[in-house]
Amino acid sequence: MSEDILQIKEVKKFFSHSSGVSVKSVDGISFSIKRGETLGLVGESGSGKSTLGRTIVGLYEQTEGKIIFEGRDVSQLTNQEKRDVNRKMQMIFQDPHASLNPRMRVEDIISEGMDGYGFLSGKKRKERVGELLEKVGLRSEHGRRFPHEFSGGQRQRIGIARALAVKPSFIVADEPISALDVSIQAQVVNLLEDLQKEEGLTYLFIAHDLAMVKHISDRIGVMYLGKLMELTDSETIFTKPLHPYTQALLSSVPVTHPNQKGQRERTVLGGDPPSPLHPPTGCPFSTRCPVATAECRDTPPEWREHSPGHWVACHLNNL
């Protein structure tokens, strides 16, 4: 077993709201990621998956909890050490149209990070940018162009090249393919998989497309209203989901072939997720859960290891 590259313990991120109530976007999440692994994070909009990703890379400061990266608690570091950690943790953003500065040339976008760390200069820098562009499937002469000259898929490749430029070991990919067309999604996913092999990268892959998350991830965590509901390897979560929310989520995924219609058992959830401003007192899912009991509505379930490597937060399955 390889070592954990990242451990997060009871991480919370609250935002203050004008009403005086704090919004608990991420409410006590713990997991670890092994070096070279891909952990997928799924959940509906508003479940806090992006906030968690941003908190991990340090774009937000956590309200509570510990983030331990490569064995060091990130909040205890000196500025110098923090710079090093920031370099090793990179992020790929969702919207390829909004995440690249339209007034910068692609080569400057890619090398901005490198310059900040004083990596290379002059001709060497240019060579490295060319190398990176070719690595992500573009051509080195594309460096002179501006972002608007590229399609969505190509821009996402530029975003990936920018993340790779500072030689990271861990990348948070926040919905990197949701804005792309189906035929282009597969291109970008294959690229991410190839880069992982070549560079030995670790991914936290955030998405809502369950089939794609299963495809790319070794393990999958399911989030709901700021909390993790279930976490296990990507095979088990599809074959033996324990949490009623995971089961409902999986059954809402459209079939991949018309002849599967009606063959699957479907639990279509009623209602909408509750507002994070007024979360339910007990289990966050208790308001929509088809099997909720009085206990579920009163006490939040514990996050426990149901069987080796299979974590779940639910009062049921209390075996």
Binding site: D181, V182, I184, A186, V189, P254, T256
Partner: protein
Amino acid sequence: MSALLEVNNLEVFFSVYGGSVQAVRGAAFHVNKGETLALVGESGSGKSVTAQSIIGAMSHKRGTKLNGSILFKGKDVLKMKKRQLYEIRGSEIGFVFQDPMTSLNPTMTIGKQIEEGVTLHQQLSKKEVKKTAIELIRLVGIPDAEQRYHQYPHEFSGGMRQRVIIAIALACKPELIIADEPTTALDVTIQAQILDLLRDIQTKNSTAILLITHDLGVVAESAQRVAVMYAGMIVETGTVEEIFDSPKHPYTWGLLNSVPRLERNERLTPIEGSPPDLFEPPRGCPFVERCKYAMEVCVQHLPPSTAISGDHRVLCWLLDERANRDIGERGEQIV
């Protein structure tokens, strides 16, 4: 079965600086009474422009040129005057938009917004109109209809707003609903609710649905027939089984192969490259640059439409009798 809607050789041009963009280039398909036809394609393939042309939103517009015909119940929408278009919009063709966040008026209660359509097309007393609106709110599965009637869009979640939009589309019991990516902006659990709702309404009122989507899962789930659109052309049409079991066009193969399957985990096969620029569309087949099986003829000439069986039609040179038959049958092996 008679076709409710028949689109023949539809072409839509937009004049832009320096020339014109051909957004739709000879699209042809039909929708039968009471069925769901899914129009599938990538962004920029012309699906939405086609949909908007059907309700006449592209006619009478400066800088836009339309050719071909769109027959709705035998009458050509493209030849209709503005007055006639107002009459069919809403009352005979309902429209469900993609983005539930921006397609409602934020300053009007949802009750009033639903009533708008009802009063425009039906002679009813105020009381009856209100009753109809509340019934519609109930029909689309919004709880507490009486209270909800008085609320504003911002008090509704995305899924609930989409239900309101469906209620508006249903207000006059149209025979055809055009749903332009109705679930794209929604989460999967909500998507399942909305697709179920559309299906229920279809069985209850035997409404035909033209479902525009890029999600093959949604197609497999809801459609009876499929039209695959690429660069402004319908490259393949057929029943949903024909498209999923024996697709014939390389683009359809590519689409089906680039989606991961829950049951299997193998490397994805993307379609390399990107769609052509419709400012200067290619002379021959629009897919030629991305097609693994492209031949000389594909570059030079547009492929003819080949009928495989009754409804299954394909626009591809591989199906010509002079082409290499081995490749033409590759669809089954790949998918």
